[in-house]
């Protein structure tokens, strides 16, 4: 049975228990807050994962418009790491989303999986190694390297500063854009999920150049090319330690899904700069209505860093602070 929980900052007045007041509160809340669904995958089988994805979409009351002609899917690809490490989207998950799109929209809907070259990752190899070439063959979809696509500059204002974002035509012209992120702890931005996954839509390969203004860049990218739907693949999470979490989340609001992901991963969303900035810049809301399972169920199961992991993290941080990477042969 679906459970609905409100993750917001309600005033005492709003909490009065008169029926009318509750109804009024619900109406206000539904207008102000985004829906985020939380579904547990019962078994690690294709049919269970598909069922969970469909349920997650039903819970946020998402319906695909029949007139959609072309869809862009942005999975998370990070270097050439295998999906079993929790670092990249499970290709089975993407294949199932494609199946659902074909069933719900039309068997002929044009689908493209997009990614761009990065400092250490070449798209042509990532598509091959991470099984997307297989998916493309089996499901008759396109694999698009955004670094080789036509694009145009779009201005996005963040913190009253103008950012010029290169928007690939394929994303601009898509009728439906789907983001399939992962939850990851990342040292330089605390948490990576839907908002950060858009980094891969930036066609410039030298992405580390943007790390000095990371939050602004993330928000600018999301403003310049807003995606319509986020479906989170939480089958495996990177931790550390890597764990099978069996979670599917869906939302139309990238800020809300990132907030939920942060809560599950044990990170205070208010301490994540790009989430806070995303809300300020109207990309979405940090208050959300949780549909489906209780997020705390997943929070309890989310892997906790061991003392060794914490010590290792601290060690690497010290190595960086003291500039010892070269001497320790890490660079």
């Amino acid at each position: 049975m679906a459970i609905e929980r409100c993750f917001s900052h309600c005033t005492d007045k709003d909490k009065e228990h008169s029926e009318n007041h509750l109804k009024e509160h619900a109406r206000k809340r539904d207008n102000l807050m985004s829906l985020v669904s939380f579904v547990s995958i019962q078994k690690n089988t294709i049919s269970s994962i598909k069922q969970a994805i469909m349920e997650s979409l039903d819970l946020i009351e998402y319906s695909f418009k029949k007139e959609i002609k072309n869809v862009v899917i942005k999975p998370n690809m990070c270097y050439y790491w295998d999906y079993s490490t929790g670092q990249t989207t499970d290709p089975r998950f993407v294949a199932l989303v494609i199946e659902i799109l074909r069933e719900k929209i039309s068997p002929n809907v044009e689908i493209s999986i997009v990614e761009s070259d990065a400092s250490a990752m070449k798209c042509k190899y990532a598509f091959k190694f991470l099984a997307y070439e297989k998916i493309a063959k089996q499901h008759n979809i396109k694999l698009v390297n955004l670094s080789e696509e036509e694009a145009e500059p779009v201005k996005a204002k963040v913190r009253n500063q103008n950012f010029s974002v290169t928007v690939p035509q394929i994303i601009k012209n898509a009728d439906l854009r789907i983001n399939i992120p992962k939850i990851k702890h990342i040292s330089f931005c605390k948490i990576s999920c839907a908002l950060k996954n858009m980094f891969g839509c930036n066609p410039h390969p030298q992405k580390f150049k943007y790390h000095s203004k990371l939050s602004e860049t993330i928000v600018a990218l999301n403003k310049a090319m807003p995606f319509d739907l986020c479906i989170l693949d939480g089958i495996t999470v990177s931790g550390p330690p890597v764990s099978k979490l069996g979670l599917v989340m869906a939302s139309q609001d990238p800020v809300a899904i990132d907030t939920a992901a942060a809560i599950i991963a044990g990170v205070n969303p208010k301490s994540v700069e790009h989430i806070v900035l995303g809300e300020k810049e109207d990309l979405g809301r940090t208050s959300f209505i949780a549909k489906g399972m209780n997020p705390n169920y997943f929070k309890r199961r989310y892997p906790q860093k061991t003392l060794t992991d914490k010590a290792t993290t601290l060690g690497y941080r010290l190595v960086r602070v003291f500039g010892l990477e070269k001497r320790l042969m890490l660079k």
């Binding site: 250490a120 990752m121 040292s187 690497y316 190595v319 320790l328």
Partner: protein
């Protein structure tokens, strides 16, 4: 590998590292800091230098033959990283060039210099394990890919790693280590078959399991792979008297960090230092180095047989798991 060898060679008492060739200017800058006086961006220039007695070649596999042959023809003794070459034909040309020019040829198999694995070999030879009926050798790691180490930013994989005609596959890359090690332990191989796996959809195998039968009567499985973020290198021997195993372990990160900060040779690169020291001693004392070119050629011939005798299994068609 080149960086590790340069670091080690710069510390040797028995020889001087005087010249380095590398297409990377960054690498040349680094070796200049180590005291190297002559640097080149083209190895042809380096091997023509009259003041050089021996060269250490740490290049992608497809460049082993042209570079080693040129060096031998210039009268330089050659230490060549494993595998000897991409195939036995190329390997034979290297050996023939070394013989013709009367230079020493040694192939870098660091596991032969691991104290743990040498100790295990001594036990095996002493007979305390009885006859080794079966054995399991393994070399698992991440191959050309970066491990997911927190805070370490991965670097691009050089293109040559990803091309079959330039690099071979995991069986050639890692198999050469383990086939050499098992041949050292159990003698020549009578028969070998290999299962080749394609988790990452390369045009060549990223993991392999070989079953080999040796003249000594031992049957061994050799498990190789580029698929894991954690390294595992070792061998388990199952004898008629008792069992024993030996692992070539990477020392703990903290110990390695301390050793590096103190300017000492870290545990994991000690084997490389030992093999180069052995090579130099062989040149000075006019000895035949081991593992020799002929030894490494036998490994290449065995690998070629394993590729030929591929075991085909029915495999599921899951994403990211199999080729077929």
């Amino acid at each position: 590998m080149g960086k590790i060898h340069a670091r080690n060679c710069s510390k040797l008492q028995s020889a001087n590292l005087i010249a380095v060739a590398d297409i990377s200017k960054k690498a040349l800058k680094l070796v200049k800091k180590m005291g190297v006086t002559q640097t080149f961006t083209d190895y042809h220039q380096l091997i023509k230098q009259p003041n050089i007695d021996a060269v250490l070649i740490s290049l992608p596999t497809h460049l082993h033959a042209p570079c080693a042959i040129s060096a031998a023809e210039e009268g330089k003794h050659v230490f060549l990283e494993k595998p000897l070459a991409r195939n036995p034909e190329e390997g034979k040309k290297i050996i023939s060039a070394a013989r013709k020019n009367n230079v020493r040829l040694m192939v870098g198999y660091p596991l032969r210099f691991s104290s743990t694995l040498r100790h295990l070999k001594n036990k095996l030879d002493s007979g305390v394990l009885g006859d080794i009926q079966t054995a399991h050798a393994f070399h698992i790691g991440s191959g050309p890919f970066y491990h997911r180490i927190e805070h370490a930013i991965p670097r691009p994989v050089p293109e040559w790693w990803l091309k079959k005609e330039l690099t071979g596959g995991a069986l050639l890359d890692l198999g050469s280590h383990m086939i050499n090690l098992t041949r050292w332990y159990f003698g020549e191989i009578n028969d070998i078959k290999a299962f080749l796996g394609h988790r990452f959809n390369f045009d060549f195998e990223d993991h392999a399991i070989c079953v080999a039968n040796f003249t000594s009567g031992t049957t061994a499985t050799i498990n190789l792979g580029w698929f894991s973020q954690k390294d595992a290198i070792g061998i388990e021997l199952f004898g008629t008297v008792t069992h024993e195993s030996g692992y070539h372990m990477r020392p703990r990160k903290i110990i390695t960090a301390i050793q590096l900060l103190l300017g000492r040779t870290p545990g994991f690169s000690e084997v490389y230092l030992k093999e180069v020291s052995h090579f130099i001693r062989c040149i000075k004392e006019n000895l035949q180095p081991s593992p020799s070119g002929d030894d490494a050629l036998k490994d290449l011939e065995t690998i070629a047989r394993a590729y030929k005798n591929e075991i085909r299994l029915h495999r599921s068609n899951k994403y990211g798991n199999t080729k077929h």
